[in-house]
Symmetry: C2
Subunit: 596 residues, 2 copies
């Protein structure tokens, strides 16, 4: 009953008109040849795969979910999932942005990011299988030995094998330093790993012939805490020297979790019973290696919520135009009908526009960060690469937390547009809300993201990187201030920029006498900076739209209205957030623990 | 795995110390004899029923849900539901605040309200069966003929029979004026009713021997729209002259909905196939009669979210004290453990305190409104009764929308405290989020509530009733301004009061030239006024707590800290809401319909 149309026009707008990715790619030897037509063709085909193959499986995937056979430890994924995955592999989609050395197509991360937005709109639960595989690919590409790379990367690139990240244990979630899984060296370069992992997404399934688990565990001589954690490759099936599959390894799914959402993804308790693995990177430095995967995953989670926001918006907008109920407060609009379509009501529009502004802003941010990753990997000069990497590091917690919180607000609004029907499973809207809910939790809760942003990325370098980003905003503002039509965007942007500077300094000062001030302000702070980033991107989008105002293309007029809506109705949230952040830690810590 | 302890201490605080209900009851002939001990004893017993009988059924009710036998049209409720209902009836709980003339216990609505908060904490889905019954009781009590009352009220009072409200049809939800069900007079004083109703809560079940449906339908000569709707009693089984049950009536459950939450309640499509009914009240005036039930239901929905907020808070607080993970930013607190309990982290406390402040504020508001209903029904002089009724009318949309939106924020926060475990069904936290979600939709969506508040209750009388309420706040502020310790509460309260006055005037002015301005501002406006009401109640609670500051009872210290938290961290939301409301209708209406 639900529908999804890949937002190709808006993606093209962001890529070609706002970010001008072709110009950026021209400076990167690896992508210099890439032209607009190729990019658009890839996205169009990718959109077809998402909307025609994955999207029809989404509702049933939610209803049927995954099942475990306790005898064989085999997990059956929902109907059609395995077949869709075969098509994904056959179509070469897994290899899109992978290294040609291992069989990849070598296309930019930016393209893969846009593709993943569509996959997530169509079916978040399904998309996690290849999504985690890509993360495992990234981690091994960065930290694997040549032998490990040769063994595993071609199969992860093609997608014939999938990957997981095995981090969490029952008593060790946010605090991985507490984990207990043990790795005993066997003297032959391999390790026997024993332990229990929980919440392992895509941990076991019937979609690929092998699963490559990246497992965190402790060596016998490991120091306590997070500096004693090593990373291991633990394949489900051993891999023979000729690349064929050998015996079953001692890692299996003990149970699958019953969850609020993403039912189509198998969330597994994984038992490691002397499973044999090999070390990735250096002993005790597994967390750093895993962070390659985790940072990619955090951006991926942001794309999950972006995808859900987009598809929820599309369905709510269609419903609001179709459903007739009551009359407009200013008098009947559809006089030939018994009632007006509910889109005439201002608050219905407010809910829709909230989702739309968050989707389009999120898309601009997601693509921008992906382009920076391409620069970080491919820019010819090191300074540019390092700059890009630092900006990615700054923006990653914002992509993860701001986009997933926005997704929660947006999917809930879109469900509300449906009234009572929104609560009925058949309509599909409530699934978007449920699926989105995990995005605020996994890969580091949104509170953890906010501490990463404020504590590490901002205060950790005395605000230097944030200032650089602020300078970029100022430069844009200065360059456009002469245009009177831009002032409605630039004035609030500049105002918010100043407020962020002040707030940062204030929290930084307070934190010197009490480090808990960081924890008290961080969540509010992240949303404020998220809005600063969005306001900047919306101003840039408005700039392009204004330049095309005379084109007669209603796309630009709609873009401009959405920008105005964002500034008028969503940006004001910062006023409250700043007040709450400034209220500091005292109102939170005054209460005794046992009075709660 | 979940837990629930009835918040008796806090209820007693609100009833006896803040609202001083006994003093109010003394002025009402019907309740003049009621003393503190009786009130507390009833609540204590009620709490036991909720926590010991209903609460253990809640998780399984969610997992198993209701099932329909398509052959017999019979609905089976989850295990234990029918037996718990029998205990409820046997214990006389259904009759608590009902009219002694029909077998009721004649206790105040205030007591019933507090009781229902606990029932909803324990099991919202179950509580809807007696909850709707009580609504049907109210409507018949107000509008039934003496014969109808004699036939139905004793059985609804005892709870032996349950009730429903059959309003919604597939094409008529918010806009009941569109409904099509037809009632044909039979010439013998009865009517044959034909039509299809959807979303009928408790529409069919196995918990009582008869179900009394209150059905909206059109008479043959009915004018179009909402002025042509009449209200009918349609019993599942006909009732013989001697009160015994007769034949099955032509109303049956055609299907049950599969929903996001409240799985334990049977949400039915009801088919009326020439079902025989009798008219309640006057022809074509059914909507007014039904509004008696709907207003009660709206307050009841607020209590549902209050209940969920409370139970979610209790579980999240317990988890936060128990779960150890990471160290406090200011250094280890639980040095004997490998990590600190997560309650040391400021943002965990912020999430907990948000739920707590919304629960305690919601309780004060819920009890206050219930006391006003008791006054409206029982105060000896008519002026007091009418005043009380007008204040209830003003506050009803706030109870419904503000408490349910707060419940959404609070249950989501409490789930977040659990990290990944929050997403797992077994822990029970995600159920509270799902169950709460319907509360924002049914009995008039929260947007409808906001239009009722701003359009009808405030602008509809040129703000007269709101001013009366404001005068009450001012009086309290004046009386306490001398106490320097109260200024931290009274200054922001006064400030917000002024802002509400200005905002009301501004929106009222704008609405004169464009009625859509009401729709554009209403949702923000309701939350602003909701905070004004909460700030007033929190200031009153702080007043009591300050007076007891030297008592050594930590309850009062905790109350004061929670009040301060509310003013420091939640009230600031009004800054953004006011800005958004003032931004007006233009940013919402500029976009063409087909550009969405």
């Amino acid at each position: 009953m639900s529908q999804y149309t890949p937002p190709l026009r808006d993606m093209q707008f962001v890529l070609h008109e706002v970010l001008k990715v072709e110009e950026a790619f021209k400076t990167m030897p690896a992508h210099a040849e890439l032209d607009v037509d190729t990019i658009n063709a890839v996205l169009e085909e990718g959109g077809k795969f998402a909307s025609e193959v994955l999207f029809p499986l989404n509702r049933e995937g939610d209803e049927i979910g995954c099942t475990l056979d306790p005898q064989t430890h085999a997990v059956t994924t929902p109907p059609g999932f395995a077949e869709a995955y075969r098509q994904f592999v056959d179509g070469g989609w897994a290899a899109l942005s992978c290294d040609p050395e291992y069989g990849g197509q070598g296309l930019p991360v930016t393209l893969n990011q846009a593709f993943y937005e569509m996959l997530n709109s169509a079916n978040q639960a399904w998309t996690m299988y290849p999504g985690l595989t890509h993360g495992a690919y990234d981690a091994l590409h960065a930290h694997g030995t040549p032998e490990q790379k040769a063994t595993y990367l071609p199969k992860l690139t093609s997608g014939e094998w999938t990957g997981t990240m095995c981090l969490t244990e029952p008593h060790a979630g946010t605090d991985l330093g507490l984990l207990r899984s043990k790795a005993e060296p066997q003297g032959d370069g391999t390790y026997r790993i024993t332990g229990e992992k929980i919440f392992i997404s895509s941990g076991e399934h019937d979609m690929a012939e092998n699963i490559i688990h990246l497992v965190l565990a402790r060596l016998p001589d490991a120091p306590a805490g997070s500096r004693g954690i090593s990373l291991f490759i633990v394949p489900k099936f051993h891999v023979n020297a000729d690349g064929s599959l050998g015996e079953r390894n001692g890692i299996y799914c003990g149970a699958i979790e019953h969850k609020m959402g993403i039912h189509g993804n198998s969330t597994c308790q994984m038992v490691l019973d002397g499973a044999v693995g090999t070390l990735v990177g250096e002993p005790h430095k597994g967390l750093a290696a895993m962070f390659v995967m985790m940072n990619a995953a955090r951006l991926g989670v942001g794309m999950q919520s972006l995808g859900l926001t987009e598809v929820a918006y599309q369905n709510a907008a269609a419903y609001a135009k179709d459903r007739t109920q009551s009359r407009a407060l200013s008098g009947a609009k559809a006089k030939d009908k018994a009632a007006d379509p509910i889109i005439v009501h201002p608050d219905v529009r407010k809910m829709l526009l909230t989702a739309r502004a968050y989707a389009e802003g999120g898309r601009a941010l997601g693509m921008q960060v992906a382009l920076l990753i391409d620069e970080a990997q491919n820019a010819p000069d090191e300074a540019t690469r390092r700059d890009a990497e630092a900006t990615v590091a700054l923006l990653t917690p914002i992509v993860k937390a701001f986009l997933t919180d926005n997704g929660w607000l947006a999917t809930s609004h879109c469900m509300q547009v449906f009234g009572g029907h929104g609560f009925i499973r058949e309509w599909g809207m409530e699934q978007y809300v449920r699926d989105n809910r995990i995005n605020m939790i996994y890969e580091g809760t949104n509170t953890i993201q906010s501490l990463d942003l404020l504590g590490r990325k901002v205060l950790g370098d005395q605000g230097a990187q944030l200032k650089k980003f602020g300078a970029q905003i100022q430069q844009f503002a200065m360059a456009n201030m002469q245009d009177a039509r831009m002032q409605e965007f630039l004035l609030p942007l500049a105002d918010l920029g100043e407020k962020v500077t002040k707030l940062t300094a204030e929290v930084g000062m307070k934190a010197m006498s009490n480090p808990e001030e960081v924890g008290a302000a961080a969540v509010d702070y992240l949303r404020v900076v998220g809005h600063l980033v969005f306001a900047y991107l919306w101003a840039r989008m408005a700039r392009v739209a204004l330049d095309k105002a005379d084109s007669g293309d209603r796309f630009y007029a709609a873009k401009l209205f959405t920008a105005r809506f964002y500034f008028a109705k969503l940006l004001p949230e910062t006023a409250s957030l700043i007040r709450s952040a400034r209220a500091g830690v005292e109102p939170l810590m005054a209460m005794e623990e046992d009075w709660f």
